[in-house]
Amino acid sequence: MGFFQAGIMGFGGVLPMARRMVVDDRRWMSQHEFNELFAVCQSLPGANITNFAAVFGMRHRGVTGAAVALAGLLGAPMAIVMALAGLYARYGALAPVRHALAGLAAAAAGLLLGTAGRIAAPACKSLSNVAVAVLVLAMVLLLHLSLPLTMLLALPLALLLASRAMP
């Protein structure tokens, strides 16, 4: 399991890399098994890919496997990011760095907006989906409700609407 880490270092898109390694290169799983397990991880809280690594590692080598898979997935990126945090603390206030960071931050916000739009677009086919999404948006942005409260209010409604819409 140690070489789990080899494949799973991707910029931005970790998922395609993980899929290629698990399914194509190492043949640890079929495409169908991968899709099914990933769908499960998506309907659970937490980052899909870390959930996937934990469940996958657990199945093959128990708790050690899960720990190794997670360490392999996160170890190198964590080291890089913590080094960046150190650089940020030291040089983040310098004028040229600050300007580049301001642009970077604006770009990252836009990136997430675009991604959110892509996820929202197919969901917006039904009126009830739009209503739930707008409700969540209003609870977070306008009412400043906490995330637990938002989920507590939105989830039952969304489940009810989804249940009624589904034959």
Partner: protein, 172 residues
Amino acid sequence: MSLLLQLAALFAKLSILAVGGASATVPEMAREAVRTHHWLTPAQFAQLYAISNAAPGPNVLISTILGAHVAGVAGGIVATMAMVAPSCVLAVLVSRGLERHAGARWRRVLQAALLPITAGLLLSAACVLARQADTGWLTAAITLACAAGAYRTRLHPLLLLAGGAALGFFIF
């Protein structure tokens, strides 16, 4: 020590609530880190989010960089473990049961119900970040341009991030 405990408590809570991934918890994360604990300014939050986004690896790295900013290497490790462990334990515990019911009606209902919530949370997260990052017309323009780029094209995200950083560097 109490700082590490606060980090652990915050990210463990977010872990269990992170429907739609780590990015969906950004509004709550910003609220707690910026307003409740005063660990950093809104602009710093947006910048650290952006740096973790530009670095290789999954989205949970936002917890690593925030933890590291607040409490050094120990903070980064504690925050990441708190963000990852609870949801992973939950995933390990319930994945078998969920898989056995693949295609069952209640699972399709659950997935359908989570979709608009995820969409709403991610849109809120983007708005929160935009509000923190966009201090003038130029940053607002960069945000809109990158949003359009990410929505309409298949450009690599790093390209958009690099473009934003370059614009900031040369124009400001």
